[in-house]
């Protein structure tokens, strides 16, 4: 390993999703120098990949793209993409030392014009993780059309080093000699905004995800209805048919001890209702059925949004799905207990969307020396003073923003980020060097 390069910032923010971005902006606008570290290739986290957002149906991109653009351009914010914080030790009240690994992108971002010639030239096709596997991408690729930075990436795992991309690149920005860089950061405060992971429904075999092509996750549906969507229309992946009967299976991986998650994921009811409304607009003839246990439309304007979906004709069935089976033609049979009538019923649908829940992000587990950072039983970052200072963690000077503490919708994540930034600014003010 090479000697790390020593760098210094007032604050380290880990994670550049909507919560981390908001925290960084708040700190930077107050005059502090911020290092924003993101493991992915783009800013914007999960929100930038969404279609529209509840309960106003604003387009997600319309909120995130200008925000990430502001972050990327801010004179007080430095962004490290493809980077991970591997270790943090607290030396004194206002001296945290963090080790950061910045992986090579094999593309000089400043020179790349995102012309996509490398993408066309690349002979390797793999599944596109930004489209949640719905379509493929190349090994030399632009992550997605509104990514920031908008520049090519070489997926070195799958690259055959054939050199085709290098030959067509008009700006010679592709560089296979790039190496992993190591940094040692000295900073006065740390904000964790590492977000959440989505439940992988492969853990519930009776839903058939992974076996039945027309059983998809809500994130895949989100991509199907997003403006930067893969098919440019809504269709079921099995045979490309435009679906007429779409089912939503709520609480997939939530409120379910059998998969180790007794929590309610807090967002699935609302995003499913939102998708249902968008689908009613895109496919006016389609029947949308939402199978639910309880509808949790608790936030500002949420209940009204739920009632609006009902009046649009979305069907709500109080019932938990027991099993999904596939017919020869790819149609699905959903077996469920109709809670209102107390009987087991079956219904046929063209497509089933599993409304997958929120899981903790395991990557921050061991960053801090001596296990000083505490977690709750489901591995979300523990809040030391939930009522008085929700963004304080077990380590003084380390704060937490957004879904790293548990499920949260976008408005709540943004308020939580405002709160974490507020605590961090206070900490910086109180721990100024004399």
């Amino acid at each position: 390993m090479k000697e790390p390069k020593i760098i210094e910032y007032d604050a380290l923010v880990i994670g550049a999703g909507i919560a981390g971005g908001e925290t960084a902006l708040n700190l930077a606008n107050t005059g502090y120098k911020v290092l924003l570290v993101e493991k992915d290739h783009s800013l914007g986290g999960k929100m930038i990949l969404l279609s529209k957002v509840f309960p106003t149906l604003d387009c997600a991109a319309c909120i995130t793209t200008p925000k990430v653009s502001e972050i990327a351009r801010h004179k007080n914010i430095t962004v490290f993409t493809e980077s991970e914080v591997t270790n943090i030790s607290k030396e004194s009240a206002n001296n945290f030392v963090a080790q950061i690994t910045k992986k090579p992108r094999y593309v000089h971002v400043d020179d790349c014009t995102a012309c996509q010639l490398c993408e066309q030239a690349c002979p390797v096709s793999v599944q596109d993780e930004y489209q949640y596997g719905l379509i493929g991408r190349k090994a030399a690729y632009i992550p997605f059309s509104i990514a920031n930075p908008k520049a090519a990436v070489i997926d070195i795992e799958n690259c055959t080093l054939c050199g085709a991309c290098e030959r067509v690149c008009p700006t010679q920005c592709i560089d296979f000699t790039m190496e992993t860089e190591y940094y040692e950061l000295h900073t006065k405060t740390v904000v964790l905004a590492t977000g959440f992971t989505l439940f992988d429904p492969i853990e519930i075999p009776r839903y058939g995800y992974g076996r039945y092509k027309n059983v998809i996750t809500s994130m895949q549906m989100e991509r199907e209805i997003a403006p930067t969507r893969p098919y440019n229309t809504i269709l079921r992946p099995g045979d490309g048919k435009v679906p007429d009967r779409i089912a939503y299976v709520l609480c997939a991986g939530s409120r379910d001890n059998t998969v180790g998650n007794p929590n309610c994921s807090q967002i699935c009811c609302m995003y499913s209702i939102k998708q249902a409304q968008l689908l009613m607009g895109a496919l006016p003839m389609a029947d949308i059925t939402i199978y639910y246990i309880n509808i949790r439309s608790f936030g500002k304007g949420f209940e009204e949004f739920y009632q609006q979906a009902k009046s649009m004709g979305v069907e709500f069935v109080k019932g938990k799905i027991g099993e999904i089976t596939e017919k020869d033609n790819g149609d699905l049979i959903l077996r469920y207990e109709d809670i209102n009538e107390g009987v087991v019923k079956e219904a046929e649908h063209d497509m089933a969307v599993l409304s997958v829940g929120v899981r903790s992000n395991p990557t921050i587990g061991k960053i801090f020396n001596n296990g000083a950072l505490k977690f709750d039983p489901l591995n979300f970052v523990a809040q030391e003073d939930l009522m008085g200072s929700p963004s304080k963690t077990s380590i003084k000077g380390v704060f937490v923003a957004g879904t790293a503490t548990g499920p949260m919708d976008i408005p709540d994540s943004i308020l939580s980020a405002g709160s974490a930034a507020s605590e961090a600014i206070s900490y910086l003010t109180q721990h100024q060097e004399v």
Binding site: P66, K67, F302
Partner: protein, 574 residues
């Protein structure tokens, strides 16, 4: 007159282009007088398009820029900043709203929407031809911040500001701080008592030198604007008979944290105020908290079977209060469990409309089920009925969880799970001109982009005055609001909006009508070149334009809204 205008027409990833033929709009405006560049773009606000715009401004030597996209409330500042990065004065930027007011409003009529979009963009071009570079003045901002309301949100906002070395005036109407939180017993999920939580925050706050706490005090008037608000405060006498004290304070920003009220059921609503055994959730919480002994008693009667009727005053299908009050499910289940643990023989029966213990609060619901609490669910159109049979209280409910079976039960106590409603006393909101949302709580500018800001510059909203929240959500909102208010004034200087009135001194022959119309006393009589004319004090003028229609000789215009500009826009739209 602008001669080199660049026009950008945004698809908004389909939000506009699904209903408006953006290419047709582009073609319709590209040859307009002064337009040298007309482009469509998938996302005008994206980083790559912003960079393109900056390059275009320089490369094509543009002197005016127009983006036709969403409402200016979202991204006017975004594009003003882009214009500035292109080294053009940001006030030469003109915005055209073709989403909220065209593509979405007319999504039922694509041809009509396209036609309207063309007119709207052409009107923006007309306005752009007149748009002048403007230069804001700097003025000194008062760095003290006022926080109105000393509940949990107000207290935490004050601490947060004090921590940032800001002076804070915390104003509370009641004689004590802590609001509703101080009245709660044990809190879910920490088991700390509400009063303990408030005590520890207050004892920290009360020691701080930069925080002035005014209890028993009301704001009775407000003057001024961001950077310089003057609040008049009336403080009730501490000792009866002492004179009422009034004082004035100058602050740069205001955090409004005036909180909520418990919904108060009407007489006869679920037998409230008619049957003694019917009480509200806050009263029940107090009863449980204050009672001791082995058995719970109310009005001298032993309590065993308790029915909780959910969503009283929330999720109403008719009239007001259509919203969910968010905290009540968790609050009542928590109290029901406490009651069962504290007293003997308690049976809890929850008559609900779907339990909303979101997130980690779900664990509480699971615990309650495990402890044997009974959950029955009713539909909004068949609410439970409560009647007296002699001395007994009987509840009937149609339980949809058992195929709509009608169940009847005798209970000792009925708890109406009342939700949160906005404060009846709206004087602060009226005084500060805060807009209210459809739920009648104060409204933020944008739930995701500017969640604690109001349309009134310099005033933020924190906690439940913006909508139902639990304690930690209120605190997050309070800290966000405090940071925002802090950022307004922390630099000590602010810029005035350069949109002010302008008098044509050639035409003006002082009559005083404009000065009479001005609500800010910004117009004075002065002698200019040997002639008495009206002169605008630009540091006081707020740019409302009230003076402009009253001038008998049409000598006053508002910059950016001159008759020339307005008439040229009207011509294009017609």
């Amino acid at each position: 007159m602008k001669e080199r205008i660049g026009v950008y027409i945004c698809h908004c990833g389909g939000n506009i282009s699904d209903y408006v033929d953006v290419e047709k709009v582009r073609q319709a405006v590209q040859d307009d007088e002064g337009v040298v560049l007309a482009k469509t773009t998938v996302f005008a606000c994206s980083d790559s398009n912003q960079t393109d715009m900056v390059n275009d401004i320089k490369e094509h030597n543009l002197d005016g820029v127009i983006v036709s996209s969403c409402s200016p409330k979202l991204h006017l500042t975004t594009f003003r900043d882009v214009t500035e990065r292109g080294e053009l004065n940001k006030y030469t930027y003109v915005h055209a709203n073709i989403r909220e007011q065209v593509s979405w409003a007319h999504s039922d009529d694509k041809i009509g929407a396209t036609e309207k979009a063309i007119h709207v963009v052409k009107a923006a071009i007309a306005k752009s031809r007149y748009a002048k570079p403007l230069y804001p003045n700097q003025f000194e901002a008062e760095k003290t911040i006022a926080v109105i309301g000393a509940g949990i949100a107000g207290l935490k906002a004050a601490i947060s500001l004090s921590d940032k070395n800001s002076n804070v005036v915390l104003i509370e109407k009641e004689n004590r701080v802590g609001g509703h939180t101080a009245t709660w017993g044990s809190l879910f999920m920490t088991d700390e008592r509400g009063s303990e939580l408030i005590d520890r925050i207050y004892s920290d706050l009360s020691q701080r030198e930069n925080v002035f706490i005014l209890t028993g005090s009301e704001v009775i008037s407000s003057k001024g604007s961001i950077g310089n608000f003057t609040l008049k405060i009336r403080k009730k006498p501490q000792i009866a008979g002492d004179p009422v004290e009034t004082m004035e304070i100058n602050v740069g920003s205001i955090v409004v944290a005036t909180g909520f009220e418990h919904y108060s059921p009407e007489e006869g609503e679920f037998a409230f105020a008619q049957n003694e055994a019917v009480i509200t959730l806050p009263n029940f919480k107090q009863l449980v908290d204050e009672s001791s002994g082995k058995v719970l008693e109310y009005n001298g009667k032993k309590i065993k079977n308790i029915a909780y009727v959910y969503c009283v005053g929330s999720r109403q299908t008719e009239g007001e209060n259509k919203y969910c009050s968010r905290y009540c499910c968790t609050s009542v289940i928590h109290t029901a469990i406490e009651t069962k643990k504290k007293f003997k023989g308690i049976q809890n029966i929850h008559l609900n409309r779907g339990i909303r213990t979101y997130g980690k609060q779900e664990l509480l619901y699971a615990e309650s089920l495990q402890m044997g609490d009974l959950y029955l669910q009713f539909n909004d159109d068949t609410p439970p009925e409560i009647r007296n049979e002699g001395k007994k209280t009987v509840v009937t409910v149609k339980d949809i969880l058992s195929a709509g079976r009608e169940l009847e039960m005798e209970v000792d106590l009925v708890v109406l799970v009342t939700g949160m409603v906005p404060r009846k006393d709206q004087s602060i909101g009226k005084m500060l001109k805060l807009p209210k949302g459809r739920d009648k709580f104060y409204n933020e500018v944008h739930m995701k982009l500017r969640p604690v800001e109001t349309v009134i510059d310099g005033i933020t909203i924190a906690g439940t005055c913006q909508g139902p929240k639990n304690i930690s959500e209120s605190v997050n909102s309070a800290l966000s609001a405090a940071t925002k208010s802090f950022s307004y004034v922390s630099k000590g200087t602010l810029e005035t909006e350069p949109i002010v009135a302008e008098v044509d001194h050639e035409v003006c022959s002082w009559c005083g009508k404009c000065a009479e119309a001005c609500p800010f006393d910004a117009i004075e009589k002065q002698e200019v070149n040997g002639k008495e004319v009206a002169v605008i004090n630009t540091s006081v003028c707020k740019g409302c334009g009230m003076c402009t229609p009253v001038c008998p000789v049409d000598a006053i215009d508002l910059i950016g809204y001159t008759s020339e500009e307005m008439k040229s826009m009207i011509e294009v739209l017609a």
